[in-house]
């Protein structure tokens, strides 16, 4: 059976063009970019070229990009970096209750170190209200962190509006753009952000590489110590092949973005419509319009998410419950709970995320298979009877 992969929000395959661009940097051009001789300078050039490509994708200057090991590191770096560098100015951080764990857990870590964190609520679509941000700001607020779009429910947050509020308040503003980079326009000046987290493997680049955009003059402490790399902000020998791959992925994403958005939005809406028509007691989670072009998140009442995922896997269809990171946790999704869902509804969520190789045929296959699976699981669900 042909495998149907619908979990592009968890990770994407690396594009063949990207792999090709990387290969030479494992074997021939293996020099350390910090070395003075020519084969070191060659890889230094490759890193700087990649930096330029990533910067171009977000409208930043080259020197404002710091390569990291991925999105999680970028989030950790941004939040701890600003918090520790600005302790003398204040100890208050504002974030939302639906952030990725890389943000939430970092904030919790800081709470144990004397920082005060406000976790703002969201509405039933998962949207943060900019007015809530305004209300939450105090004289001690040093950082605001709100994700560009939710990895789980696909809702796109009003980042530009929040950016203005942050600027007026004089607080640094960070956004996790891991799910949007390369998929919808991301411009650091239009969004008004000071820090922005990126990950290569969500846009057909390799795993193990990401970046943090740091606006010029943003005060933050280095993430790693022990070398001159990345303008002393992140010591460690550069992951040259990974960085080259990230640059290539960024370069390829830009010209394809509009076409892909249109194609994926069509497929996304076909899937949503088909699921609602074919499976009763099913709801779309997240905002119907302010939504990533590739995200479909639904709650299927009376059945549990993992049992649907396993059944779909037996049919060679790869999807996830909520986010991939929470798949081994027993807790219902913190995102859906924050949106006001009951725990059993939150346990019955499924996330489909579409991508470059998703076809109309794939969507038809899901629509043919899932109703059967849900019927089978509902037949054994003790919840259904009590709701009749």
């Amino acid at each position: 059976m042909r495998r149907i992969y619908l979990d592009y929000a968890a990770t994407t395959p690396t594009r063949p063009e990207v792999v090709k661009a990387m290969l030479g940097y494992f074997t021939d051009a293996f020099g350390n970019p910090s070395s003075l001789y020519s084969c070191g300078q060659e890889t230094k050039g490759a890193v700087e070229e990649a930096r330029g490509k990533v910067a171009a994708l977000i409208g930043a200057r080259d020197e404002e990009i710091v390569f990291t090991s991925g999105g999680t590191e970028a989030d950790n770096f941004a939040i701890k970096g600003v918090a520790f560098a600005n302790e003398s100015k204040g100890n208050h951080i504002i974030t939302s209750s639906i952030e990725h764990h890389a943000v939430i857990e970092t904030c919790k870590f800081l709470e144990g170190r004397g920082f005060i964190v406000t976790y703002l609520p969201v509405d039933k679509y998962g949207l943060v209200d900019p007015d809530d941000i305004k209300q939450a700001i105090t004289g001690k607020t040093v950082l605001i962190s709100v994700m560009h779009a939710s990895n789980e429910i696909g809702t796109i947050e009003p980042i530009a509006e929040i950016g203005k509020i942050a600027r007026e308040a004089g607080a640094y503003f960070h956004t996790d753009a891991v799910q949007t980079l390369g998929h919808i326009p991301v411009d650091v000046n239009e969004l008004g952000v000071d820090l922005l987290s990126m990950s290569a493997h969500k846009l057909y680049g390799p795993k193990g590489v990401g970046a943090l955009y740091i606006r010029k003059c943003t005060g933050l402490v280095p993430f790693m110590h022990g070398g001159e790399q990345e303008r002393r902000r992140r010591a460690s020998t550069e992951n040259v092949p990974g960085i080259v791959g990230f640059g290539t992925a960024a370069e390829l994403a830009q010209p394809e973005m509009d076409g892909e958005t249109e194609r994926l939005t069509y497929l996304r809406d076909q899937l949503i419509k088909g699921l609602m028509e074919r499976i009763d007691h099913t709801h779309l989670n997240g905002h119907p319009l302010k939504r990533l072009p590739n995200n479909v998140n639904v709650s299927v009442n009376y059945v549990e998410g993992e049992s649907m995922v396993l059944n779909l896997d037996l049919e060679s269809i790869c999807v996830s419950t909520g986010s991939a990171c929470s798949s081994s946790s027993l807790e219902p999704s913190h995102v859906l709970l924050a949106m006001g869902f009951s725990p059993e509804q939150a346990h019955g969520s499924l996330r489909f995320s579409l991508g470059k190789w998703t076809t109309e045929e794939d969507i038809s296959r899901v629509l043919e298979v899932l109703p059967r699976i849900v019927a089978k699981l509902r037949a054994m669900s003790p919840l259904l009877k009590s709701h009749r």
Binding site: E306, L310, H347
Partner: protein, 130 residues
């Protein structure tokens, strides 16, 4: 490529895919209802008892793969057993019969044990009243 490491054993997947004894039971002699929606697993287990022997058992479960497989397995294990023997079916035995469970899913086998105990207690309290 290295071999994949599946989350569940073949036996778990087999029971998950073809669960035995699914459904409600007309006039059961005992019903066990355990779990809660917060943890994501709810089990309902029914038993039919004849002359002190469990002659039939059925279940309905809302939960993950392990919850469904353990429900299926425990209903198979209890059939033909006396009430005394049925009370000795412990979570470990259910998990072992399924070829093991991942550590994070061991609570599902506890839930199966509890569901069975709860059904037996229900049966015993009813038969005492008669």
């Amino acid at each position: 490529m290295t071999k994949t490491q599946p989350l569940y054993s073949e036996k778990v997947m087999e029971h998950f895919n073809n669960p035995r004894n699914v459904g409600e039971m007309g006039n059961p002699d005992g019903i066990g209802h355990v779990g809660n929606p917060v943890c994501g697993d709810i089990m309902e287990l029914y038993i039919k008892v004849n002359n002190g022997t469990t002659v039939d058992s059925k279940f309905k479960t809302f939960g993950c793969g392990a919850a469904i497989a353990t429900s299926s397995m425990v209903t198979e294990m209890v059939k033909g057993k006396s009430i005394e023997e049925a009370l000795k079916i412990l979570k470990r035995a259910v998990a072992e019969a399924l070829g093991g469970l991942p550590p994070i899913k061991m609570h599902c086998s506890s839930l199966a044990e509890e569901a069975l105990k709860s059904a037996i207690e229900d049966y015993l309290s009813k038969s005492k009243g008669e």
